[in-house]
Symmetry: C2
Subunit: 341 residues, 2 copies
DNA sequence: CTGTTAGCGCTTTCAC
DNA sequence: GTGAAAGCGCTAACAG
């Protein structure tokens, strides 16, 4: 009906009821009781607000209160399934606190990440959830200096004292490797991204630890690939490693695993006869591959939940402790990583 | 260094330079020339702003200007690959205009969508990009009444005059069906979601049109499945249709196609001997299936680009024409839809 | 119990 | 060329 002019303001409902704006403000913010506003006026104000379809102006509110009820999230690329799952859970978690999420993609590019963070901050984000990219320590430290609540997710920098939530990468990779070693494979290898990011080191180190513990330090076969031209890089790695006698592989990310499956399909490598494999994060591609692919499962919802919980603690209650949490991954095992022998 | 107190405000740089806030405002908004501010002061102000690391307060700005430079986007579920791709392109496109995107997921739930939209509007979104869910005409019309710029994406309501961008669903589905008919299949069927949403009707209608044009109206085999318990629904559909003599299938969405592949794998149906298939939107799962899967490709980046372009026209220049654009899909053909005979 | 008032930081009109 | 001042809509301290 009333598709009249502008939205109703606090003042509008105040004058409509015939009271001052403060009363309206109190009542509408649930502080009516606190300020001992009479039940009668409370009722009148509420009714009027309803009737005028009053919607508080969030800018005025934010300007006044100095907070926005928005969390900024910078991740690598929201179109990557792993991150889009994270995004979804972050959205749901934040909603529980009445917060919205402003997303931005960094494309693993340090400058871009910096720009995005600055942008989110200037948009008034009350806190930042960040998937940091390689060599972005400076950027992270800069945010820290700001005092703006920050939490890293999926990755962290051992040299920087920040909040973070990530997978128990080392341990779960160790377990995955151990699984291969105890299920018919004697020479596992690992393919990981060529990055200095700690989570990637952890995954590789977990593999190495398992190998060492099995007395096979001499058989450690590690290959690092770059994102650019991933397919060819992986193709080369796999050929080389097979030639070296590697009989099984741990792929350190979902992307690597998926691309590796394409290579494997192209080369006609038999799974698990020629090569046992374990990937990361699952997905339809793993399920639909002619041999279902074993993988390391991350509790993505838990990652998101913890991240929001921790940053909200800091935003809302000024919690100043540093929280560093590792969530537990698990192994989802299918035929691709079991050699019958 | 200066990890001092608060952020610098306009006033701070003004008093630092020794001029009024108006000048600073003019200069920093590039209107220095326009207001004939002396080159000298322009330089001084810019330097000071830099030095004090001045960042405009976006709330004050928005409050004053009545706009937020934020576009609200409500889609089904950002963790769905199709939508997360859209999200990414929307983000990139909006960035070109200096706009940010606030995402929200509706889960195909009308009430939730309504809430999300209201939330985004109350957050001051300058416009809304919406993937409308079933029977949400009222919601859409309500937004329209608001006068808030709105564009639907991926779907539309034939009964409502709105901006929208979507695929040429009918035509491309017709082509896909035609392709099956001319490549060794005589009895194609279609599996689509059980929804009244027009894009889904269009996809099915395209199929029907092709069948009719081929003089096979009598062989039309259509199956509708619900999202809940998708796997079983599809499993049942496929069994039934095969029994009816259907020798090929068009899957009307990526989800349906992916789930169908799982069914096909489970049942050991041979592709394309027993069944020719064409899916929607591609993806790794299609590529890695033992027979690469043909599919209808949507130009997702174009969808996003058009959507942002149109809504920005309306936001920035008050463009009042209704834009309804259909982007062209294309067929990506592999062995799954060609029967050698 | 209720009203007045002073800003939050910014843009912009109008005056000098 | 530059400055003063109003006011966007809201909250909250302070007065009654």
């Amino acid at each position: 009906m009333d598709k009249n002019k502008k939205k109703a303001s606090l003042k509008d409902v105040a004058s409509y009821v015939g009271v001052s704006t403060s009363l309206v403000s109190f009542v509408l913010n649930g502080k009516g009781r606190l300020h001992r506003v009479s039940e009668e006026t409370i009722a009148k104000i509420k009714k009027a607000a309803e009737k005028l379809n009053y919607q508080p102006n969030s800018f005025a509110k934010s300007l006044r209160e100095g907070k926005s009820r928005v969390i900024g999230v910078v991740l690598s690329d929201i179109s990557n399934p792993f991150f889009s799952m994270i995004a979804r859970y972050l959205e749901d978690e934040a909603e529980k606190y009445g917060y919205s999420i402003l997303f931005a993609s960094s494309d693993e590019n340090r400058d871009r990440a910096e720009k995005q963070i600055a942008h989110l901050v200037s948009r008034g984000a009350d806190g930042i959830i960040l998937v940091p990219c390689e060599k972005s320590e400076k950027t992270v430290e800069a945010v820290l200096e700001t005092g703006k609540p920050l939490i890293l997710i999926d990755r962290y920098f051992p040299t920087i004292r920040t909040n973070y939530v990530c997978l128990n990468n080392r341990e779960v990779s160790r377990l995955a490797t151990e699984h291969l070693l105890t299920h018919g494979f004697s020479h596992p290898g690992v393919i990981a991204y060529d990055t200095t990011l700690q989570h990637m080191q952890d995954r590789v180190n977990g593999y190495k630890q398992a190998m060492t513990e099995a007395g096979k330090a001499g058989l450690i076969s590690e290959s690092r690939v770059k994102e650019a031209n991933l397919h060819n890089a992986i193709s080369g790695s796999i050929s080389r490693m097979l030639a070296e006698g590697v009989d099984s592989l741990l792929f350190a990310t979902n992307n690597i695993a998926t691309e590796a499956l394409k290579v494997i399909k192209g080369k006609g490598i038999r799974i698990p006869e020629d090569l046992g494999i374990i990937g990361f994060d699952g997905g339809n591609a793993f399920e639909l591959f002619h041999v279902p692919v074993s993988y390391i499962r991350q509790p993505i919802s838990l990652l998101a939940q913890k991240a929001v919980e921790i940053i909200m603690d800091e935003i809302l209650m000024g919690e100043k402790m540093t929280h560093q949490v590792e969530v537990q991954g698990s192994l989802v095992i299918t035929e691709s990583s079991i050699k019958s022998c």
